[in-house]
Symmetry: C2
Subunit: 367 residues, 2 copies
DNA sequence: TTGTAAGCGTTATCAG
DNA sequence: CTGATAACGCTTACAA
């Protein structure tokens, strides 16, 4: 009765161990032993079983297997939004490692909604996953409780005690700011991410530190808080460009916000880097192919995924070490969104310069 | 023995229906009936059961459920490479629909390798998925056999008889070419995708047709075959730029190749759109924020995912109509990578013009 | 309306 | 070394 609609879709009788056992003329237990190598089996029988498996194209049912073992070969992965261009490479890194070790990935998007995160977490549990990989949502409240091993990536939820893999946000931002300073800028603004996110916080701190080390003070208005998306990058930049004096350089805490900043700059009829320099964080390869290639702190997303997946797998296979925090190095990639600035009193001194084709043209024009 | 390493990770005794039954003082069958509404249950008992479920935080085990029903709430999704920036929005569209209907997504990357595709297909089967959503690999040999419902997206494998959701590749390319022609170009080249891919083939055909309709002949050398990635876009463009006469406009069959084309153009010390116009296909939002926003045929990736997921769900719930082919409309988004071209004999006539800030500057300079 | 029990496909224990 | 069998957690037919 409740069955009527279902016959339609039921897979047409998959091959089971029983059929393998039957065609190989052995018992079902023996088949299992052959497959899992749990007990040794006489070579002759082994071959018969293997043959039957090949002939019938048998694939063990992962559900019954998982049910029995109380654990599947599924890795649950939770990301804020696969549509954010930084995450796909992370996911890909995870998937590659998972695949090599014959784990499969269930992917969930939380939209940075802690509610949705919890809900996903719960129903991932009901698949008895081997482990969980989580890029926490903005206000995430997860904790490592009991349950399958979990590793957090990219961001660290408040109060999180478990394993973590992140990039060197503080140091990366520090280098970025130092580069801007070295290029002669003094009026330097930052568009940070949401500060409840550890990575956003660390980037802001690294930035501040570099300015402090160079004895440059920061006008509080030069610190704008964005949300890691284009719209907020745009809005923050509009506010910055209206300031007097206007900053000569902006550090955007991710590429999406830098792209938004670029739109604002264009809308103000200014050009980057001639009128305003921009350095961003992420270094998505897509930002290097536009006419104006962004100078950026590159973070190795794919490696981030691989590393986290490896750590998780080691936990899955019983690694009981205390929780680790792995920090991946970033790299400042100098392209052409930063121009050298020569303050009046320094004219004539040699200062490193970087220009793109266009700014060169304009200088010729002025000459 | 084989157990020693496993206790480590076993989830600490999840709550089961038995415990719910026990604490609610009913039988296990009744609990099931409450949860699934399969049989009506006296209100008082119902409340007791619901209470117990809430209190203990019970989540039904999806494995045993799936095992029993011979079908899970998993949707398997196979994509060539989540790292290709067109796919994340498709995946996201799928995931949103799946989530709303309480299905979960297992994601697999084939790297356009038909081998890997088959292997994934097989082991997705062993999870008894409710359905499969597939963006076929380049040489895909899949067929709709028996098994759970399958829907193909974006590309149609050769000989595929099942459901399909694609965008209007032919028409989109036709419009793109028409736009280029309308802007006065006659020497128009195309960088196509791999032609075993239906979408690549259709785009090429649409392009050819537009030129034929305008009585413009195509130098065979103006037709370059890329692989939908940046590197091939770059290589094809290098070949095109060396041609004499050089094309004045290029239609790139996707954004990634257009980005590669842009690099090549820059390397030849040419500028787009002044020296060469470019139109591409995809319209990823990331291409509109660079200084040079790409004029492109926008394809609705997110909608593609949603539509395919909806179709799949309808199949899952028993829709037995003959296989459908759904074609989603594209939209030409005119930005500023195409300049109007005035052939000598037309100087003085009015021709629609589009320029970006830079080309305007250069004209001032010349004046 | 409710309880009981069979069975989904595995793995693992225990006899033989 | 091999075969029979219990158990994993759930749904559902059937009996009460």
């Amino acid at each position: 009765m409740a069955n009527n609609g279902k016959n339609t879709n039921s897979t047409p009788a998959r091959i089971t161990m029983h059929q393998i056992a039957e065609t190989a003329g052995v018992s079902i237990g023996t088949v299992s032993n052959v497959i899992n190598g749990s007990l040794s089996v006489r070579e002759k029988l082994r071959q018969r079983v293997l043959g039957a498996i090949r002939n019938l194209g048998y694939q063990p049912n992962q559900l019954s297997r998982g049910l029995r073992l109380n654990r599947t070969n599924i890795i649950g992965m939770i990301v804020p939004d696969i549509t954010n261009p930084f995450f796909p490479s992370v996911v890909r890194g995870v998937e590659d490692i998972a695949y090599e070790n014959s784990y499969r990935l269930i992917l969930c998007n939380t939209d940075d909604d802690p509610q949705k995160e919890i809900s996903y977490l719960n129903d991932l549990w009901s698949f008895l996953p081997a482990g969980l990989l989580i890029i926490p949502a903005v206000g995430s409240t997860i904790s490592s409780n009991s349950g399958p091993p979990m590793v957090c990536l990219d961001r660290v939820p408040e109060g999180w005690k478990g394993d973590v893999v992140v990039v060197a946000n503080y140091k990366g931002a520090y280098e970025a700011a130092k580069h801007i300073i070295r290029m002669g800028h003094r009026r330097i603004a930052i568009i940070s991410g949401p500060l409840h996110l550890t990575n956003a916080g660390d980037r802001l701190e690294g930035f501040r530190r570099a300015l402090r080390d160079a004895r440059i003070s920061i006008d509080p208005e030069y610190v704008q808080k964005g949300r890691f998306d284009r719209a907020s990058g745009y809005a923050c930049t509009v506010r910055l460009l209206r300031l007097v004096p206007r900053p000569t350089a902006i550090f955007a805490a991710n590429d999406l916000m830098a792209l938004g900043a670029l739109s604002a700059v264009r809308e103000f009829k200014l050009t980057c880097p001639d009128d305003i320099s921009i350095v961003s964080f992420d270094g998505l390869d897509i930002t290097e192919f536009s006419d104006l290639a962004l100078t950026a702190v590159y973070q190795p997303g794919y490696q981030l995924g691989r590393t986290a997946a490896r750590l998780l797998l080691s936990r899955i296979s019983g690694n009981e070490e205390p929780a680790r925090k792995i920090v991946l190095a970033t790299e400042l990639k100098i392209r052409n969104s930063v121009a050298a600035l020569r303050p009046r009193h320094q004219r004539g001194k040699s200062v490193p310069r970087r220009q793109n084709a266009r700014s060169r043209k304009r200088h010729i024009l002025r000459a």
